[in-house]
């Protein structure tokens, strides 16, 4: 686990510029939002997620998270079919703030074109650099 100016960026994950992380688990992937995303949103009060069986398309919205101040789209880091949805974050959306890489996971997806689509995501090293530039812009 690396901290870039207070934002956690775990190793071994892939990252999208829509602030989602992706973890490869055998022939499936688990996805969620990054620590940077949850800190920007602050106090998340609702998570609207699709049902299992729904398909996702890389770079397209599949749900929303809403904080007191604003609503944000959740954008799929890969294409595929949703196998599992974390229903716990729907009843306890604060999990997204408390544990974005753990209990705050959102979906398990069976990807349809993983190898090609991984090229559009950032690996750990690139994600660290990207976080640094985000923080620089924010200052």
């Amino acid at each position: 686990m690396v901290k870039v100016d207070g934002y956690e960026v775990p190793e071994g994950l892939y990252y999208s510029k829509d602030f989602e992380w992706l973890k490869i688990e055998g022939d499936k992937v688990r996805v969620g939002i990054t620590d940077y995303a949850q800190k920007q949103l602050r106090e998340i009060v609702y998570a609207e997620l699709p049902s299992p069986g729904t398909t996702t398309k890389q770079n397209e919205p599949y749900g929303t998270v809403e904080s007191v101040k604003a609503v944000s789209d959740l954008v799929a880091p890969v294409s595929g079919t949703i196998e599992e949805v974390n229903t716990e974050v729907q009843s306890k959306p604060e999990l997204l703030n408390e544990d974005p890489y753990g209990k705050g996971w959102l979906l398990v997806i069976k990807p349809s074109n993983l190898q090609a689509e991984l090229a559009n995501l950032m690996d750990f090293n690139k994600a660290v650099e990207w976080h640094k530039s985000l923080i620089q812009e924010g200052k």
Partner: protein, 381 residues
């Protein structure tokens, strides 16, 4: 052309401790720790807000009372020195130019506090309408700072650093006092629904903010014993919404009249004349077509400004003007304008949230139980 952002006397402090945002051309704190925790500090204990971005206009002269009664809808002749009232001022069509608190400082001296958005507009409107009246209208916004200390423990906080007996100041009454050796003016008013004070620091010009910083720090220090939190505009918005208080540009504007906005209590038709009286009288006799209501979501979802409202037949009957998640009620709440026939408390309506119809109920203001929260609360602190 890029216009420079405006800042308050406390900008240096905010920029180091808060997440900043832009509001009405000002760089202001959005939150320090988070909207919900700051919101709850005000409902349960005490919070302090920098509201120096709002305007401060002094009206003096032998005609000050008559002039104000001509431009605003409420009646300042009812004010004794050191008391205040809430009012709107309207254009000839009855549209709201601004809403504000007016305090009578002396027999012939008043203080009017415009919204940040309307600082220049109000000043110009006041000057324009002062023609023929023996008054001086002076904008002292950049010479004085203003803080709001709000919550059930606001009095205790301020009393610990102030020799004036604050328990003697009733709601909408004011007094001059000293905090940290600095001259201040305390007004028992606010924009949160809670008990509390607005603190004016007279001698705190933008270019010499020392007095403002001194008073701010001294209140924060005194409030530690009572759980004080510095609060940003995020909590200011959720608090005023829960209390059912209008935000200019969202819930009221020049296309809205005080009768539609349910602010009739500040329109004194018995006054001989005031700007907008004719139009408002006409609307009163014809009846309003729409009315401001409170919406409490029954189903999950947060209504946001410009979301449409539908009746059960699918007919569009209104529009959301402000909406948020209520930290107290833990659900979405909103202010909206709804066709008069449907603007009935208890009525169930649909709010269109990103293409989905989500059920809400029309409820009275404030949204919280007045036995438990707000300045009328009965529960002991």
């Amino acid at each position: 052309m890029v216009t420079a952002m405006r800042r308050t006397q406390l900008f240096e402090i905010h920029s180091k401790t808060a997440k900043m945002t832009t509001f009405a051309g000002f760089e202001m704190p959005l939150w320090y720790k988070g909207i919900v925790s700051e919101h709850l500090a005000v409902r349960n204990n005490v919070g302090i807000f920098d509201v120096s971005h709002m305007g401060r206009v002094i009206i003096t002269g032998k005609d000050a009372e008559n002039f104000l009664n001509h431009v605003i809808t409420n009646d300042v002749s009812t004010l004794t020195p050191n008391s205040a009232l809430y009012s709107v001022m309207c254009n000839e069509k009855g549209g709201i130019i601004d809403d504000f608190v007016v305090s009578r400082l002396e027999e012939e001296k008043f203080l009017l506090v415009p919204n940040a958005t309307n600082r220049e507009k109000d000043y110009n409107w006041l000057v324009k309408n002062a023609n023929g009246f023996g008054v001086k209208v002076e904008d002292i916004s950049d010479k004085a700072a203003m803080f709001a200390v709000q919550g059930p423990k606001a009095e205790k906080t301020l009393q610990s650093i102030c020799t004036t007996d604050l328990s003697k100041i009733e709601r909408f009454k004011c007094a001059s006092a000293k905090i940290a050796d600095v001259d201040v003016f305390l007004s028992r008013t606010g924009y949160t629904g809670e008990d509390g004070f607005e603190v004016y620091v007279w001698n705190a010009p933008l270019e010499k903010p020392a007095n403002a910083v001194k008073v701010w720090n001294s209140i924060l220090e005194a409030g530690k014993a009572f759980g004080i939190e510095p609060c940003g505009l995020g909590a200011r918005d959720t608090l005023r919404l829960e209390a059912g208080l209008c935000l200019y540009r969202n819930d009221i504007d020049e296309d809205t009249t005080p009768l539609e906005a349910r602010l009739s209590f500040v329109v004194k038709f018995q006054k001989a004349d005031f700007v907008g009286k004719g139009a408002l009288l006409k609307q009163k006799s014809e009846g309003v077509k729409r009315r401001r209501v409170g919406l409490q979501m029954i189903e999950h979802g947060i209504p946001r400004p410009s979301f449409r409202i539908y009746d059960e037949k699918g007919e569009n009957i209104g529009l959301v003007t402000s909406g948020t998640f209520s930290p107290l009620l833990k659900c979405g709440i909103a202010m909206a304008y709804v066709q008069i026939a449907q603007a009935v408390e208890g009525n169930i309506v649909n709010v269109e949230i990103r293409g989905k119809m989500v059920k809400a109920k029309i409820v009275p203001f404030p949204f919280y139980e007045t036995e438990k929260y707000g300045y009328k609360r009965k529960t002991p602190i």
